[in-house]
Amino acid sequence: MSYEMIAIVMFAGMMLMLMTGQRVFGAIGFVGALAGLMLWGTGGSEIPFSAAMKLMKWYPLLTLPMFIFMGYVLSESKIADDLYKMFHVWMGPVQGGLAIGTIGLMVLISAMNGLSVAGMAIGATIALPELLRRGYDKIMVTGVIQAGSSLGILVPPSVVLVLYAMIARQPVGQLWLAGVVPGLMMAAMFILYIYVRCRIQPHLGPVLPEEERNVPMSEKLRLLRAGLLPLVIFATMMVPFVNGWTSLVESSAIGAMTAFVAAILKGRMTREVFETSVRSTLAISCMFMWIILAALGFGAIFDGLGAVKAIEDLFTTQLGLSPWMILILMQLSFILMGTFLDDTAMLVIVAPLYVPLVGALGFDLIWYGVLYTITTQIAYMTPPFGYNLFLMRAMAPPEIGLRDIYWSIIPFALVMVLALSLVMIFPEIALWLPDYVYGK
């Protein structure tokens, strides 16, 4: 079989397997294992397992359970409740203010954990019911929470950028810093969109009723203190890391421990919260790890059979495109694949194909890391297949249907595409901060 044929058969086989609805890791693992047995020759049957040893040595993966645990402690123990109240009270009097406050909440949550799961859980359980009760438009608020929680992987700490760093061999510190300005810019763009939309259609985001707005100033100031917690957690994690006192994986453990201790000190770590956080951390970590395990095996077999060469050849010589055309085509293919492929699988299978190519075309790989992250965020959110969509469906109250969730995404996805274009056209948006701090 030619290299091209192997690439096509393996990819198509994987897509087909995924469509059956079998667990993603099983679908990917099966295609890899079968190709290993049939096409590799002697010893091909050993590769799926040797991927387990590869995964074991991939040390940044140690941060994954840490950040997941941290996220669950934050959301389950409801220590974010006070944060929500803070935004609620301060932003209530503005048209659409609660939705704007929710984006603010999401930014703070993002600074405390590395995935979008926690933001989604907090948004769906704390913010969503409140917003609906105040007569906010259900389609809009569903979109707000999904868009807001996606900031989790762009604002540091970010697990996606850690995994990207490993694939692209780029410094994690610089990548994390590169995500800050685009992340805040995107949050600002969401806020602007909500504000303008609510000015035009006031019924989408009504102002809080008079009696709820009458909060004494002292109470308002007291609530402001809630904002300290995220700062403390962010600082205990990031300060030792940026100063080189602790390593990345050690910092993630410190972050997880700080969140855990904070929940205990606030008296929120009940037996039930403990049980749910620990169990859900296992569930989600296992989900990620098994997909990465299967995808690493698939990737090694795909590579060893020459399919990687076929894809590189297709992009660089056969299509005869300019570097920018290739880059845009890649981003589009990510969004397209994001409709089929799980995000983790996409990162482990597709990114290793594309990233070296992007480097070879002469683009900055730190900048591309940010583009990549925004693109995957869009891919996670876009129907029919998106991890955020699943979570939302699982967590949303019953009155929010699948159609609402799908519709809710459109305006925010467009805002994100706009943000993506801005970062593409003006790389300084991403690169200014890391350049400033690391003094390139």
Binding site: A27, F30, F49, M53, L282, G297, D342, P384, F390
Partner: protein, 198 residues
């Protein structure tokens, strides 16, 4: 459904739940090892074993917790079509496609057993025969003789040089339990097709 199938499902799920619930607390072991790593680094001489130990713990965590995560239904599926199907259609499809999953796990298990045999000093191509031989020796001649049948024990290529057979054995166990769990899932699906929730 025959009684033994019901018993099988109960037994395997109880076992996997038990092991998974122990594995679930490994998150604290992981946090502990990494915290010790930062403390020893800041105040004393850093330890040589922390990173590798953390990696072993992480492997045990996800591989022994895997079957329990299947029980919890936390492994994502692409539900573009799947999501819209009835429970019965899902059961039909799963009863069929779970064999693909089990095939993958089978290949994984074969690799794990072969690699574990290697880590105990067996360089041949028949790892199952090797373990069978070990078992027979253990039963007939006792542990001393079994130890002598082992060859060069594989060590990790680090300065700490831990033996690798323990973590590889854990991997074998986890993958095997995963396979047994999938078989239980298959039986459940067959039940659903016949209209019984097992």
């Amino acid at each position: 459904m025959p009684r033994f199938i019901l018993r099988y499902i109960r037994a395997i799920e109880a076992l996997n739940r038990f092991i998974g619930r122990i594995a679930m607390y490994l998150i604290f072991v992981l946090v502990g090892v990494l915290l010790w790593s930062s403390i020893s680094k800041t105040f004393f001489v850093p330890s040589m074993w922390t990173l590798e130990t953390a990696q072993f713990v992480m492997v045990a965590y996800y591989v022994l917790g895997g079957p329990y995560s299947i029980q919890m239904g936390s492994n994502v599926r692409m539900d573009l079509f799947y999501g819209g199907w009835s429970l019965k259609t899902k059961a039909w499809m799963d009863a069929f496609t779970v064999f693909f999953l089990m095939f993958y796990l089978g290949v994984l298990l074969y690799g794990a057993v072969s690699s574990t045999a290697y880590s105990l000093g067996y360089f041949g191509m028949e790892p199952f025969d090797f373990f069978w031989g070990l078992l027979k020796t253990l039963l007939t001649e006792g542990p001393g003789a079994t130890g002598e049948k082992l060859g060069y024990l594989e060590r990790s290529s680090t300065a700490w040089r831990p033996h690798l057979w323990p973590i590889k054995t854990i991997l074998c166990t986890g993958v095997l339990l995963m396979l047994l769990q999938c078989l239980a899932e298959l039986f459940r699906d067959i039940g659903r097709i016949r209209g019984v929730e097992l």
